[in-house]
Amino acid sequence: MPQLSIVHALNQGLHRAMDADSKVLLMGEDIGKLGGVFRVTEGLQKSFGDERVIDSPLAESGIVGTAIGLALYGFRPVVEIQFDGFVFPAFDQIVVQLARMRFRSAGALSLPITIRMPYGGGIGSVEHHSESPEGYFAATPGLRVVTCSNSHDAYWMIQQSIASDDPVIFLEPKRRYWQKSEVNTDSHLNNISALHEARVLTEGSDCTIIGYGPTIATCLQSARLAAEDGVSLEVIDLRSLSPIDMPVLIKSANKTGRVVIVHEASRSGGVGAEIATRLTQECFYKLEAPVMRVTGYDVPYPPSRIEDDYLPDAERILDAVEKCMGY
C-alpha cells in the first residue's frame, strides 16, 4: 500500500471522484494553475480542464452561492475555502441557504456540495490562518461536518463527502498535511466505513480520549506515554462532528467510565460541550468523573509565537486523564 501525505491522498481522492462522476467540479481561489495554496488540487486542472477546475473570483459568498446554483443545475461542486479564517464571508450562504435547501423544499431539492477547508493551528502563521471554526457548522442542522486525521481517511472521506447527497463541510488538518501514512486505494466507496462513523484507534480500559483531525496524533502520543505509566487509554477518532456517532462513544464511555475530549477550538460552545452533554445523559451512572475537555482556550487565536501554549498537547491530555482518575 502506498505511503501518501494527506495532501496527496486528498489530491488522488479528488482525482478519483472526478473520474467517477463527470458532474463533479472544483471551485475556489487559486485552485487551478496554482493547484491551491497547499497544492491539494495540483494537476487537476491539467487533467480535467478549466471547466471542471474553476478558479473563482475573490469572493467566498459568491463561490458558495454560485456553487448552490450549480448544484441546483445538477452538478456536484467541491468548493475550496483557502483558509479556515476566510470562511465567514460565506457564512450566510452556508448556514442559511446550503444547510436548509433540502428541508425547505421538503426533499425536492438537494445540494450535494462539499466545502473543503484547511483548519487548525500550529503552522506558525499570521492571524486568521490557524482557526478552528467547526463548532459553528456542527451546530447547524442540515450540514454534515467531517474531518480526517490520516491519509487513508483523507482519500476515502473526500470521495464519500462528494458522493453524499448532503452538503458536507470537509475539514483538513493543515498542520498534518504533509504527514505520510498508508492508503489502501484497493477498495470501493461502498465497502468503506460510513462517513458518519467514529473509529476506535486504540482500545483501552482506563479512560476514553476523543479527538479528531489534527489532535489525533497528539491523542495517540498521549496514549503511548500513558501506557508507559501503566494507564490504558482508548483513543477514538471522531471523524464526523455532525452527526456524531454516539453509539461508539457511549460504548467506550460505559466501558472506561472516564472521558476526555480534545479539540483545538475554543472550549466554550465547542463540539466538546455537545459530546460531554450527550455522554453524561446516556452514561450518567457509569461515569466515574465528569467528562473533561482539553481544548483551545476561550480567547481568539493568539500570535503564533505562543500558539503552543494554546494548543492541546500530550501533557495537558495526561493532566486531564489524571484528574479523571482521581475522582
Partner: protein
C-alpha cells in the same frame, strides 16, 4: 444598450404607443390580451391574499400592487426551459411560470417553506434573504453554460436565467458579487431589478445616488432602464436580454422603474414614510389601466371580454379563499424529515420525543 439616463418606453401612461430608438413591439394583439389578463388576474390574487391575511388566514403577505407590468412583461419573455429566481414579491412571476396561487399561499400561511416544486415550474420558491438568490441564479446560469445548454442556436434548448430583486437588494454584497461572477464567466443570466422606489421605508436614493442600471457598466455588464409600468417595454427589453444571454453574449442588468403602490408587507404602515402626492402620481401611471386604454382604443378589448376576464378573476379569488382555508397543516413530525438525505439517530430520537407528546394529547 449603453449606459444612459433614458428609459425605454413603448406604451405611455395614457395608453398611447411611443417610439424607442432601439426597441419595438413584436407582440401580437392576442398576446397583449393575454398580458392584460395576466395582470388583472395577478392583481386579483394579490387582493385576495391581502384580504386573507387580514382575516388571519395568512401570517404575512407581500403585495405586488403596482408592479404587475414589470413582473408579467419580464416573466412572459422567458421560455419554458428558462429558470427564475425570485424574492417574496414575485407572485406575478410565479404565475407566469404556472404556479397555482394556492401553492403560493402555503408559504405565507406557514404550511410549507416552499409551496411548489422548483424544478417542475423552473421557478425557485420565495427567497426572503435579500440578494442571496442572485448568486444562485448566476451559478445556475453557469451550469447551463457548462452543460452546453446555451449557444446551441436551438430555440428550444438554449437556456437563460432570470434573477429578480429590488432596489434595496442592490446594496447587498451578494448581488454585487453576483455581478462579478456573472461577468467573469459571461453567465447567461438576466438581473431584473424592480426599482419600486422603496426598500420598506427607505427611498432608493439611500441605496444609490445614480440610477441603479448604471451599476452594471462598472462590472462590464450592460445596464438598461425600462418603464416598469409598461408591460410591452418590459417584455421587449427582457426578451432581448434573454436572447443575448442564451446566445453567449453574457449577462444584462435591467432596472424596471415602477412603484410599490401597497404596503411593503401586510405588517407595514407606509403612511409613516410615503408622501400621498407621490403615490397619486404613480396611480396615474397604473400598468393595467394603460394597457386597457390601448387595447380598448384598438378595439380588441370590449365589454364582453373585459367582464369575461373579471369573472375569471372573481372565480380564481373565490377558489383561493376556499382552498387556502383547506390547506392542510403539516404533520408536526414532518419537521424531522429532509434535514439530511439519510436517517440519523439523533433526529430520530427527537422525533420520538414529539411522537410521545402527540400520542399523549391524542389520548386526552
Amino acid at each position: 444598450m449603453d449606459q444612459s439616463d433614458s428609459v425605454v418606453q413603448l406604451l405611455d401612461s395614457n395608453g398611447s404607443f411611443t417610439n424607442d430608438s432601439l426597441f419595438t413591439s413584436t407582440l401580437k394583439e392576442s398576446e397583449l390580451i393575454d398580458f392584460y389578463r395576466d395582470m388583472v388576474l395577478v392583481r386579483a390574487i394579490d387582493e385576495q391574499a391581502t384580504a386573507l391575511q387580514r382575516q388571519g388566514e395568512l401570517g404575512l403577505w407581500a403585495p405586488l400592487l403596482g408592479q404587475e407590468a414589470a413582473q408579467i412583461g419580464s416573466a412572459r419573455a422567458m421560455k419554458k426551459q428558462d429558470f427564475a429566481f425570485s424574492t417574496y414579491r414575485e407572485h406575478g412571476v410565479a404565475w407566469c411560470r404556472g404556479v397555482d396561487p394556492v401553492d403560493m399561499l402555503s408559504f405565507w400561511r406557514g404550511t410549507k417553506h416552499q409551496g411548489w416544486d422548483a424544478n417542475q415550474y423552473r421557478s425557485y420558491g420565495y427567497q426572503i434573504i435579500i440578494g442571496a438568490h442572485a448568486l444562485h441564479a448566476t451559478g445556475y446560469a453557469m451550469g447551463a453554460y457548462l452543460s452546453r445548454n446555451t449557444e446551441t442556436g436551438d430555440a428550444g434548448i438554449d437556456q437563460a436565467v432570470m434573477a429578480y430583486f429590488g432596489d434595496g437588494a442592490m446594496s447587498e454584497g451578494d448581488v454585487n458579487e453576483a455581478f462579478v461572477f456573472a461577468a467573469s464567466y459571461q453567465a447567461p443570466v438576466v438581473f431584473f431589478c424592480q426599482n419600486n422606489q422603496w426598500a420598506i421605508s427607505e427611498p432608493t436614493k439611500r441605496q444609490s445616488r445614480v440610477p441603479l442600471a448604471y451599476r452594471a457598466a462598472g462590472f462590464g455588464i450592460p445596464g438598461i432602464r425600462v418603464d416598469g409600468n409598461d408591460v410591452i417595454a418590459c417584455y421587449e427589453v427582457t426578451r432581448q436580454a434573454l436572447d443575448r444571454a442564451r446566445s453567449g453574449q453574457g449577462p444584462t442588468l435591467i432596472e424596471a422603474i415602477t412603484y410599490r403602490m401597497g404596503a411593503h408587507t401586510t405588517s407595514d404602515d407606509p403612511t409613516k414614510y410615503q408622501v400621498f402626492s407621490e403615490v397619486e402620481l404613480w396611480r396615474d401611471r397604473d400598468p393595467i389601466e394603460r394597457l386597457k386604454v390601448y387595447l380598448r382604443a384598438k378595439g380588441v378589448l370590449n365589454n364582453e371580454l373585459e367582464s369575461e376576464i373579471s369573472n375569471e378573476a372573481a372565480t380564481l379569488s373565490e377558489r383561493m379563499r376556499d382552498e387556502c382555508r383547506k390547506l392542510p397543516d403539516p404533520n408536526p413530525l414532518s419537521m424531522f424529515d429532509h434535514v439530511y438525505s439519510e436517517s440519523d439517530l439523533n433526529i430520530d430520537e427527537q422525533k420520538r420525543e414529539v411522537e410521545t407528546i402527540l400520542s399523549r394529547s391524542q389520548d386526552n
